[in-house]
Every structure is written in C-alpha cells, then in structure tokens.
Symmetry: C2
Subunit: 215 residues, 2 copies
Amino acid sequence: MSGRISDSTVRRLSLYLRMLRDLERAGVEFVSSSQLAEPSGATSAQVRKDLSHFGSFGKRGRGYSVDGLVRALENILGLSRSWRLALVGVGKIGSALLGYGGLAARGFDVVAAFDVDEAKIGTRAHGLRIRPMRELRPVIAECGAEIGVVATPTEVAAEVAAELERAGVGAILNFAPIELSEVNGVPIRTVDIVLELEGLSYLMSESGRRTGSDA
Amino acid sequence: MSGRISDSTVRRLSLYLRMLRDLERAGVEFVSSSQLAEPSGATSAQVRKDLSHFGSFGKRGRGYSVDGLVRALENILGLSRSWRLALVGVGKIGSALLGYGGLAARGFDVVAAFDVDEAKIGTRAHGLRIRPMRELRPVIAECGAEIGVVATPTEVAAEVAAELERAGVGAILNFAPIELSEVNGVPIRTVDIVLELEGLSYLMSESGRRTGSDA
DNA sequence: CCGCCCTTGTGAAAGGTTTCACAAACCAAG
DNA sequence: CTTGGTTTGTGAAACCTTTCACAAGGGCGG
Ligand SMILES: NC(=O)c1ccc[n+]([C@@H]2O[C@H](COP(=O)([O-])OP(=O)(O)OC[C@H]3O[C@@H](n4cnc5c(N)ncnc54)[C@H](O)[C@@H]3O)[C@@H](O)[C@H]2O)c1
Ligand SMILES: NC(=O)c1ccc[n+]([C@@H]2O[C@H](COP(=O)([O-])OP(=O)(O)OC[C@H]3O[C@@H](n4cnc5c(N)ncnc54)[C@H](O)[C@@H]3O)[C@@H](O)[C@H]2O)c1
C-alpha cells in the first residue's frame, strides 16, 4: 500500500472528493465505485485501484460510505485544514484571483499580496493591502503562508519564484508561461493557458489533416 | 511514423517551439536535442523520439536547423496560422483574458465576447463590444471563431459549452472547475486552478507525513 | 579522400499506468 | 442459517511512455 502516487491518481482523487461533497450535501449515504467514476471520466476499476493505494475504504456489496470517504480523501489530500496563499503580482490575473471566491470556499485563503508598482503598493484590493516586495520575507514568515502564487510578468517569474522559496513557502503555483525548475523539493505547478490552447490547436489541425486527406 | 500522439508529447512540442523561437530571435542556426531538452525538463532521447513521430528533421552530427524546426513544429501544432477565440463570460477571469496580450502575441485572437449581464452588454472591454448570448450563434458563424472560451460561473458552464459547440466551434477552453464531457469530437481542455492547488496540498501533506514519521 | 568526432533516429528494454476478471466479503430476504 | 445478488480489493495482463544504447550518417580538418 502507498508507494509513489502518480499525478493523475491525485488529480482523480480531487475529482472524486468533489463529487462526494455534492453527494454528502444531497444526503446520500453510500456510493459505488462506478457512480464515483462517471463524472471524472474514469472507470470503476480505476476508482478502486486509486483508493486501494491508501487503504481499504469500502464495504463489499455496499460501496463506500460518503461521509467516511470524504474524510479519508480530505486526509489523504491534506484538505482537512486550510492553506494560506501569498500572491505576488497584483495585475490582471492577480486581481482576478484575489476576487475569486472559489479559492477561500475550498480552503485556500490569500493572506498577503505583493507588487513592485508604487502606484499599487498601499492600496487595497478585495480587502487586502498590497505590500512592497521588500516585505515579502518578513510577512510570509509572520503570517505563515505555505503556498506562493506567481502572477508577475514572465521575465521576472523565475526570480520571484526563487524569492518565494527563500521566504519559506512549501509550494508554488505559477501563471507565467515558463517552465520553472523545482529547487529544494518545493513543488511547482504551472498553469499555462497558451500551452492548453496550443494543445487544442494541434488537435484541430490533426483532425483537419485526417478528414482533409480522406476527401 | 505518426500514429496517435500522446498529450504529453504535444505539450513538450510546444515547449520545444518556445525555446526554438528564442534561439531564432537570438540568431542561433543549429541546436542539438540535448540543448532543446533542457528547459522542458525532458531528456535528449525524448526530444528525438517526440520529433521522430512526425519525420526526420535533424542532421546527424550537426543537430536541428532552428529555422527549419520552428516551421516544422508550427505546421505540426497548427500554429502557422492564427486562431480566433470567442469568450463567454466577461467577469473577473474573462476580463483578465481580454486584457492579456500574451494571447494575440502567440496567434490567439479574441474576436468576440459574450455575457448575460445587461449592465455589461453593449459596453466595451479592451476594445471589444460585449454581446448578448442571443447573438452567440450568428456572431460565431459570421466571424468564424474556432475556439470557445468558457469563463462563466460553474453552474452554467456545461450549458454554455454545449451552446458553443452547437454554434460551431472546434475546441473549447474551460475555466470553470468542472469536468466537461467532450461531445461530437470537440476537444475540451479545462484549466482548473483549485485542482492544481489540491495537487500541491497533497505533495506538501505527503512530505510532512514522511518527515514526520521519521522523527 | 580519409578518419575522427559528433549527433541523430530507432529498435529493444525498462518502467509505469490502466484495464481485466474473479475470489472474497457483505447485505438482505426467506 | 443459507442463498442470491451486489460490489469491493487485487493479482495478472494489456497497454502506453520513457530510457537505453548503438548503428548509421554527416561535417570538417588534414
Ligand atoms: N492576464 C491573463 O489573463 C493571463 C493569463 C494567463 C497567464 N498570464 C500570465 O500571468 C502573468 C501576469 O499577467 P497579467 O496579465 O496579470 O500582467 P499584468 O501586467 O497585468 O500584471 C503584472 C503585475 O506584476 C507586477 N510586477 C512586475 N514585476 C514585478 C516584480 N518583480 N515583483 C512583483 N510584482 C511585479 C506588476 O506591477 C503588475 O501589477 C504573466 O506572466 C502572464 O503571461 C496572464
Ligand atoms: N476569478 C478567478 O480568478 C478564477 C480563477 C479560476 C477559475 N475561475 C472560474 O471561472 C469562472 C468565472 O469566474 P469569475 O471569477 O470570472 O466570475 P465572475 O462572476 O466575475 O464572472 C462571471 C461572468 O459570467 C457571466 N455569466 C453568468 N451566467 C452566464 C451565462 N449563462 N452566459 C454567459 N455569461 C454568463 C456573468 O454575467 C459574469 O460577467 C468560474 O467558473 C470560476 O470558478 C475564476
């Protein structure tokens, strides 16, 4: 049980948890692996295999207790607590994030925001005072933010990520379209919209080529 | 050559292309698979294998012609043209996207924007008139947008995606945290920030458990 | 033209993930 | 208590991706 778990398994666990919370709210008590599989596009065998890496949560013939599995998954994913985020770069995407209620609703609280723009420093965005970069280290140390968010221009993203890492965050979410290399075991996830669009471009071009050559 | 290409291969091809464009701008003429591999965290063998699915682009002993490979990858990925995007939902994330120069710079032009909010309809955001949903079909047909972008609240995301598909887009980029099922072969990519954060949460909790149980 | 060095392209091996298929377990009903 | 219907947990098989390792090819200096 529980060796190294793949990214795709963890991703699916999050999706299962989402559905389980909906079921919990709806008052459902038991759920089977096949019901659980449907919304994430997985198979029932995959659900069972994913869960089996962490233990044995179901009852044969009955399925999984919704409440029990919600708690188990929250523990596995580290979501039985909330996490504090420090945002760097309060521009277009940074402001959108600050105003995004979906983060706090799921236990991710933005507790500090930083920028270099003198015009922005000191002003408030969605109730949070924007601070100068100089205060990055002390403020992160003081408020204990665990996750750093990079929403600065691409050119400075690597530098900002390194600074966040030195300030003591345990993970980084990056919005700049650049592959940041993980240092000191601090995991980095990059949300790269252009990469997604290029993936779609490939698929559309490919299907065009396929149907095109058939004609 | 060229069977079904995996997502991860396509993703890496995009990263290679990024680097190649930088090299081109810098006037470099040839590049080896190992140089190409570095920024995307791949290995040189992987670069060669990825490219070999589409043909033979290098010269043994010499490497790849930067210009030649840029054009080859642009063709493979469908990036030797530009794509038109139709945005639905001009809220926080939608506005950030409209103002994001990085899209047009890479050949993705937002050519139409839609919303249901009467207060927003008719106003301009970053030079684009916001249109009522009623005009979705005719406008997409007229301007020929190929990619639909869903930036509406989660509850209506599935409905909006279906509407975009009916309006004739060939692919959808979705920002709502919900798994949309592909219909009629229209590929959908979802950018799910909360899922990324939960992945980081898992990694941090896991390393905590590991170091914790060793102590 | 020759020989040396370098790098590609690619089968084969290794490693990882998903699917299959079934025994084991549980519940409910009789 | 036994039977029947249901669903889990899991080895084994199938499938897919990455890495290895090397022959084949190309350029360059002499
Ligand atoms: N706008 C979008 O929709 C969007 C979408 C995807 C990705 N991105 C990426 O996100 C990043 C930010 O994009 P944006 O559109 O919000 O840009 P923006 O210019 O609106 O905002 C960038 C902010 O970062 C601040 N900044 C600059 N240098 C800094 C530094 N060294 N330290 C701290 N703060 C600094 C600026 O003052 C500004 O407030 C870019 O890398 C962009 O490619 C943006
Ligand atoms: N704000 C963020 O940073 C952020 C980040 C990640 C994901 N998201 C997701 O993106 C989506 C939009 O978030 P947001 O923060 O921009 O919300 P928002 O409320 O600011 O904007 C939503 C917009 O969609 C419009 N809308 C509502 N119903 C519509 C319909 N049926 N058709 C067309 N338009 C409609 C609204 O009028 C509004 O303008 C949500 O699903 C959210 O979970 C947002």
